[in-house]
Point group: C2
Chain length 566, copies 2
């Protein structure tokens, strides 16, 4: 293709965006921002997106069959699953003006995901055990009402996604298929050039399962997630769920006398550390919660940690919990908020201690008395040592995986894929059962599996760029070669262009009437893997340069063709 047919221009001087991917993709003319979180894929960008999606498609064709579902759905489908009112990124459509609303006043859901559409379809066609397992997938646009989309095309109000849905006669069969998709995903990310930096991470199973779901997380400074990675197990945990053991701090052997310290006006751990002159590891946070089943819970952990409420909920064994109101805290502890501790709490309060507290001596704790904290609290003497310590803190850098004792590798990462055992959440809502060998109705199990294809384009740019522009991996590059003709090289360029086209090599010919400098700069900015220059100076040969290298080589047309026609 000829550059002048692209009908776009690069703009190195365009303003910087909030992310490297948006900045580079916009400067290089791959995408255009229609509005925050909504982009047009320009000719070069669409070519990259298509290559990404084709790789995903090839691997998905091995595990499922492709369909194309609509963006619109009737509200009734989303009411059936109860998600119409709960999915906080869901959008709906109405007529945009009076004339349109007069035509039809109906409202439709703009699908943010397609369980509500695919489950009734699966149900219509597959009702006998003989029909299972099976899986449908699609690659299309999704919509999410993001408050403030950021990170360029890594998070949008409208974005491209591959979503696969599988259906099974049992949880075991789901699990078996789940592993097959996991392997397909590994292959996809390897093929996309993200294999080395992508780890499988465990994340919350949401409402669907007590097990984890799995995320594919690519290590990336611009990533929105924090991953706690255990090298030994080769498994990551999303920060939201990472099990954590606090590294221990040396403790004084001799128990000191417990003292009540007046701490009026000293609020927060940092101020307390300074005022009481104790290491932060010797401080204690005690929080009072109320559970959905009416219990009062006191949860205590080392002062340098925060409570992870999802973990605490599981520890306490309730459906949900929330921080107690100020009045309740005062009633229970006898003190204003900010002075809660574990000493002398009423009998009806259930006490849970995080494992970060274990083994400490002479530690600080709220005195359950307004304006007072205790120093030198000790287990056994001042506070009964609990039968069991728990893990309900948010993991932080330096923490160990309790299972292996390994210190986690902690890094920022972007979620490029996720796989989710939905089990019977949706099939139950639609009353979708199958008939087993004995003619009995049985519940259908379901899994869903996503890959954000436009997000991956952003991730690739974040990972593959240098100070001069993008550096596309060959398999997703919009073209394989960038041909520059300089004065005196026009005929030679035409010949080479024709030869490459005839061989089916994807070549972009910079046929613009502009300076050599501008063409060289654009070659770097666009990031096409190979730059080819023909001019008077190249004297019948072609100057070959890899985008990743500064070296150039003069080689013949035949050699160029041989190298590119691989």
């Amino acid at each position: 293709m000829k550059y002048t047919k692209l009908a776009i221009k690069t703009n190195k001087d365009a303003k910087d965006f909030d992310s490297i991917n948006a900045t580079l993709l916009i400067k290089a003319g791959f995408i255009n921002q229609t509005m925050a979180g909504v982009y047009t894929f320009l000719p070069l960008g669409l070519r990259v997106l298509n290559k990404i999606e084709q790789i995903v498609r090839q691997e998905m064709d091995k595990v499922g069959v492709e369909v194309l579902m609509p963006a619109l759905a009737p509200k009734g489908l989303w009411e059936t699953t109860g998600r119409l009112d709960t999915v906080d990124v869901l959008m709906k459509t109405i007529g945009a003006n009076n004339a349109s609303q007069n035509k039809s006043s109906a409202e439709y859901v703009l699908n943010s995901t397609h369980e509500e559409v695919i489950t009734p379809i699966a149900q219509e066609f597959n009702r006998s055990y003989k029909d299972f397992p099976f899986a449908y997938y699609q690659i299309q646009s999704k919509f999410r009402n993001e408050a403030r989309p950021k990170s360029g095309i890594m998070r949008g109000r409208e974005f491209r996604m591959k979503d696969l849905y599988s259906f099974h006669v049992s949880e075991e069969d789901l699990k078996e298929y789940y592993e097959i998709v996991k392997q397909a995903y590994v292959t996809i990310f390897e093929r996309l050039g993200l294999g080395d930096d992508t780890v499988i991470s465990l994340a919350s199973g949401g409402d669907f399962t007590k097990d984890y779901s799995h995320e594919f997380q690519t290590k990336l400074a611009a990533g929105e997630d924090t991953i706690f990675y255990d090298k030994k197990l080769d498994i990551g945990y999303n920060k939201e769920v990472a099990p954590s053991k606090a590294p221990r701090v040396t403790q004084e052997a001799a128990l000191k006398e417990m003292k009540e310290v007046k701490t009026e006006g000293v609020t927060g751990v940092a101020a307390l550390v300074k005022f009481m002159n104790v290491p932060v590891e010797q401080t204690t946070k005690t929080m009072i919660y109320e559970t959905d089943d009416g219990r009062i819970v006191a949860a205590a952990l080392r002062g340098d940690y925060a409570i992870n409420e999802e973990k605490l909920t599981k520890v306490v064994g309730c459906g949900s919990l929330q921080l107690a109101a100020a009045a309740t805290v005062t009633k229970i502890t006898g003190a204003e908020i900010g002075y809660a501790g574990l000493l002398g709490l009423p009998k009806n309060v259930e006490v849970y201690m995080d494992e970060s507290m274990e083994g400490r001596t002479n530690f600080e704790m709220g005195a359950n008395k307004t304006n007072y904290h205790n120093s030198n609290v000790n287990f056994g003497r001042d506070l009964p040592k609990p039968d069991q310590f728990y893990d309900f803190k948010t993991a932080k850098e330096g923490d160990l995986n309790p299972e292996t004792g390994q210190v986690y590798d902690v890094f920022a990462a972007a979620e490029v894929g996720n796989i989710f055992p939905l089990n019977t959440k949706f099939t139950k809502a639609f009353n979708y059962t199958y008939t087993d060998e004995n003619g009995k109705a049985q519940p259908v199990y379901m899994g869903c599996y996503g890959i954000g294809t436009s997000r991956i384009m952003g991730v690739l740019v974040e990972k593959y760029h240098d100070q001069n522009g993008i550096v596309w991996p060959t398999q997703v590059a919009p073209f394989q070669a960038y041909l520059i003709s300089l004065p005196g090289g026009e005929n030679a360029a035409q010949k080479l262009y024709d030869q490459l086209q005839a061989k089916g090599v994807e070549v972009l010919w910079d046929d613009r009437d502009t300076s050599a400098g501008a063409k060289f700069a654009d070659a770097d900015l666009l990031g096409i893997p190979v730059r080819l220059v023909v001019s008077k100076k190249t004297d019948g040969k072609v100057e070959w340069k890899d985008r990743r290298s500064t070296q150039t080589h003069l080689i013949s047309n035949e050699e160029v063709i041989e190298k590119l026609d691989a």
Copy 2:
């Protein structure tokens, strides 16, 4: 591919829909109706859609460059062109629930067409005369708030469309490119198997141009449009704009005496014809209009025709007109509505007569007197013969093209494509100019060109089917061959399947554990061009049957491969 991997089932007994295409496509498992006007493309349907879109893409790549625009756009873009409040099928999005609306209360337009998105993009990159002409196209989903979608996938609330937008330095350049696209469209419809039945038809130019726009109309009983086709010119006219000459009826040479006839309670042409015992061709309709520039117009035509207000507007030379209110009619004619005629009207009323009135003698006309009509009105004697007759009637079957005198061929048709000279309508709204050779700003001209790809799938089914099911043209068929293995033929089927797959022949193997009858019926219903059967009976050979034929032939694997690997 194996049938059992499709995860769908045919259902010959499913209910009939309102159109042949929906009925057959749903029974054959190509599509699923998610709601009225919104469909899921199941595996076989998606394969057909992809083939249609690939043919369109190949021809569009010759005249433009592919992009992918978003479904969402900010309202501001649509306000800029003034279309936010006027496009009566436009939809917008808002948060679907409180949580979502709290996240973001912004509303976005769901594009029904993309002029508002593409024009600013064109403007950003192309501002010098050197950059012109250029054209972008895309293939994606469009949304329209249809009141009552019908005709299956021929008209939907969400549908697939190819839209191309071209930009030019002058109207001449636009016209030149316009002809190139017209030829590309001819090629596309020929390749799709619609060439023989598709005619280019002239339609309204809307707000954009005094010229016509062009529609590609495929002759089809289920079509929503009526086309008046002139064989001599090989050009059609949409009924809305068809120029028309009424066939003349023999007239009496002797002028009879004009009479006032009491017609109290006789309303409508049919009743009048009966009551006054005159041929309908001798009756006259007179309608009183008010124009947007304050004129009063009396428009009269033969009683067997209806007024086409778009034509009349052009004849009168006003911006718009509407039927005068009853009080106005009474004030002008001196009679209640239903008795208007042309005799004795006030001087300020402009009189226009349709050419269907020309040459008549002894005709009927309202008497401008409540409860009375005149019979035997004659030009010259009772009513001045006008200097000029016009054409402002809606054409009907039997009419002639005034330009050629040819009697029109009139048929129902489905619009499969349209091309539109937008001229400066959108570029002016966005203040999009280019700099000419002399450094002067000049207006940019624009054209747009659509093809409804999912609609075409429906049109193909309407055209290519028989009593047993669909009969796909080879180039859009989901598979080239439907392989049926019957008892004793399993191994032979496996071998043939492998051989065909190795050659890249698209073959669907009906590997179901079901009856021969069910397989044969499905082969017909699905409409794959060739049916191949292997069984004990075929004795090492393959039974070949074309979908269009009842003949079968026993041939060798090698012959099958040779015939299919063309």
